[in-house]
């Protein structure tokens, strides 16, 4: 029987007055690959950050095996969209830096990394500085870094975005292998086909709410459609909002300066552009 790993209960997240996520209930069980699918600004990254424990929910709770996830970060492996590699360090130094913070012996981390590096065809590049790495190599290194301490759950934020076909395939293959070995992976993407290929369960996120949650077959049955794309379109038919975090980025001072210099408020600028 699969145990519950991560549970989100009545989770809401606000950025100042903007509601980024509204009443999210989600139960993640071990041994599953769950795809978070949604368009830009849907709330996938915010949801992943809440699951990673780097953000606190405004409402509700995010629990890892019954404990607050922010205190259980050592059990998670995270690959953010930006990969977050230090260019003046080698790939192995990047990995070792994180694994040391996780309290893993260098030799243990090396053995684990070597195993996965072979599959990702990255063994020869581990001693190279990551400055010259391609997007694919960076993504693979970030994956190795997230796996080095043997996490219970792997959180991947758009892991194949910007990758070439071969690299994307390698990453998907590794995720499949992790699932076969009983690992739990949460995989954010906006490619339905990829989600269908990799994930056991798809969670459709739209405008900060969960619109559907189930296996690809269950989603088709729920919407009475023939393809996942049609199912997705019918579930997300209302107009997508703007990226919620963008609204909060401009400081008050910058806003006043902009209005002073251009004489336009954001609304009047939009009207002007439309005209």
């Amino acid at each position: 029987m699969t145990e519950s790993m991560l549970s989100l209960v009545g989770v809401g997240k606000n950025f100042k007055e903007v509601e980024a996520l509204t009443h999210v209930d989600l139960e993640i069980k071990s041994g599953q690959v769950i795809g978070l699918v949604g368009g830009n600004g849907a709330g996938k990254t915010t949801l992943l950050r809440l699951m990673a424990g780097v953000m606190e929910p405004t409402k509700g709770s995010v629990l890892f095996k019954g404990e607050r996830v922010s205190s259980m970060r050592s059990k998670l492996g995270v690959v953010p969209e930006s990969t977050g590699l230090y260019s003046r360090l080698t790939a192995w130094e990047n990995i070792r830096y994180h694994s040391r913070i996780y309290g893993i012996e260098d030799q243990v981390a090396w053995n684990r990394v070597s195993h996965f590096a072979k599959q990702l065809d990255l063994t020869d590049s581990l001693s190279r500085h990551t400055k010259g790495f391609s997007r694919g190599m960076r993504q693979k290194t970030a994956l190795l870094r997230a796996l080095a301490h043997g996490p219970d759950i792997l959180l991947l934020d758009e892991p194949t975005a910007g990758l070439d076909v071969t690299s994307a395939r390698t990453v998907r293959k590794l995720v499949g292998q992790l699932r076969d070995e009983g690992g739990t992976v949460i995989y954010s993407t906006h490619h339905l086909a990829e989600a269908q290929q990799v994930c056991d369960r798809i969670v459709i996120v739209h405008n900060g709410t969960i619109r559907a949650d189930g296996s690809p077959q269950e989603l088709l049955e729920l919407t009475n459609k023939n393809t996942l794309e049609e199912a997705y379109v019918s579930l997300t038919s209302d107009k997508a909002r703007l990226r919620t975090e963008d609204d909060t980025k401009e400081s008050k001072l910058a806003k006043w300066w902009r209005i002073f210099l251009t004489g336009k408020t954001p609304n009047s600028m939009e009207v002007g552009e439309d005209e």
Binding site: P80, S82, Y86, R100, T248
Partner: protein, 405 residues
């Protein structure tokens, strides 16, 4: 090893390794601090000396216009000045009126023109020269020296003719003995006074300025490069992250300041061997308190700079914030130099930055005044605590997780 220390030391080590792998950093934080004082105190005087020797060796040619005097000619010869005679120009209102000689001087056809006129019982003279030319200035200087010597001979001759002793007549009030031996301050104390005028300023300005680059790189730089989000996902707390980064910046800054002081001590040792300055005599207590003052200052400045840099939304914005912030160090550092330590009130030792700078000045003079120490120590600890609190507040911000790249 405790868990927290493992986090802090791992973060600090990585930051230092990554930082020193940039050759520009090594240049800015190792080579420049190490060489700046030897360059200032050794190379610059040597250069000036060699330039002066070069000027001394110059054979200068001037034009002597007007009346002749054989004694003065002798003085000119002793000063290595060659001259050619000319009559005084007719159309000048006084000897300083350059008149038609303007072009000859401006084109350096001659380095200077010396004009002399006998007038009853006195001599009138003027030197025409070009102040923007070093050779012309040197010619003027040599002529003035020669004229001074000649004048002295003339005065002495007149006094002797009047049956007066030139020495007693011209110098009736004299210092008795060696003036240096009348100073109760030791050589070491004098050296301490000299150093107290610039060491606090150097430490303050260098600590603040050398912490800027690493502070920005490790905060706004991480956000901009998108590496901060991965770091925040690790199982260490934000305070441990701040402590690790603080330790890295403080280590890098301390290394820079230590190298600079090393260079300074080397320069002082060189100057001491030349008897220009002595080695300061400072007690063990003063040295210890000096170190405490520097450490508290570093805690405060580095925490404040990390906080400001973390508050910024980009490397560019962080640079714009921290660049002008250095003025808040430079101005107090300059003002502190003119405060009279003999009559300074205790409340001065409670003013942020000024307190540490004054403390360093006093300690370099080996003055350990309990009341002052208590005030600067307590107030500095409060300011350092406030800076750390401000930094912690910035590091706990939730929006840090959002990459700026």
């Amino acid at each position: 090893m405790s868990k927290s220390w493992r986090f802090i030391s791992t973060i600090a080590k990585k930051e230092i390794v990554e930082f020193v792998r940039d050759w520009r950093t090594l240049l800015a934080l190792v080579v420049i601090p190490l060489l700046i004082f030897p360059a200032l105190f050794i190379a610059l005087p040597l250069l000036l000396e060699s330039e002066a020797a070069e000027l001394d060796a110059l054979e200068l040619e001037i034009i002597w216009q007007g009346d002749y005097n054989s004694d003065l000619e002798e003085s000119f010869n002793d000063s290595n000045v060659k001259f050619t005679f000319e009559p005084l120009p007719a159309n000048i209102s006084n000897l300083s009126d350059i008149g038609d000689d303007l072009d000859r001087i401006r084109t350096l056809e001659t380095q200077a023109i010396f004009r002399l006129q006998a007038n009853d019982s006195e001599w009138m003279f003027a030197i025409l020269y070009l102040s923007t030319s070093e050779a012309s200035n040197e010619a003027r200087s040599r002529v003035i020296t020669a004229v001074g010597e000649w004048e002295s001979d003339v005065v002495n001759g007149t006094l002797v003719e009047a049956n007066l002793d030139p020495e007693v007549t011209l110098n009736p009030v004299k210092w008795d003995g060696d003036w240096e031996s009348a100073d109760a301050a030791t050589k070491g104390e004098q050296a301490g006074l000299a150093l107290s005028l610039f060491i606090p300023m150097v430490i303050a300005i260098w600590t603040a300025s050398s912490a800027i680059q690493p502070s920005i790189d490790m905060t706004a730089g991480e956000r901009e490069r998108g590496t901060l989000e991965a770091l925040l996902c690790l199982p260490c707390s934000r305070l441990e992250l701040l402590a690790g980064k603080w330790l890295a910046v403080a280590s890098i800054t301390s290394a820079g300041v230590a190298l600079q002081i090393g260079g300074l001590l080397f320069a002082i040792t060189y100057l001491a061997s030349s008897s220009i300055i002595g080695v300061p005599s400072v007690s063990f207590t003063s040295i210890l308190l000096l170190l405490v003052a520097v450490v508290i200052f570093a805690v405060m400045v580095v925490a404040f700079e990390l906080a400001l840099a973390m508050k910024a939304h980009s490397v560019k914005e962080a640079g714009s914030l921290l660049g002008p912030a250095i003025l808040f160090i430079i101005f107090p550092a300059l003002f502190t130099q003119v405060i009279n330590l003999d009559t300074v009130e205790s409340w001065w030792f409670a003013i942020p930055l000024v307190n540490i700078l004054l403390a360093m000045r006093e300690l370099l003079l080996d003055r350990v005044i309990f009341e002052h120490v208590l005030v600067w120590l307590l107030s500095s600890l409060i300011y350092a605590g406030l800076a750390a609190w401000f930094a912690a507040k910035q590091f706990k911000r939730e929006d840090l997780v959002a990459s700026l790249s």
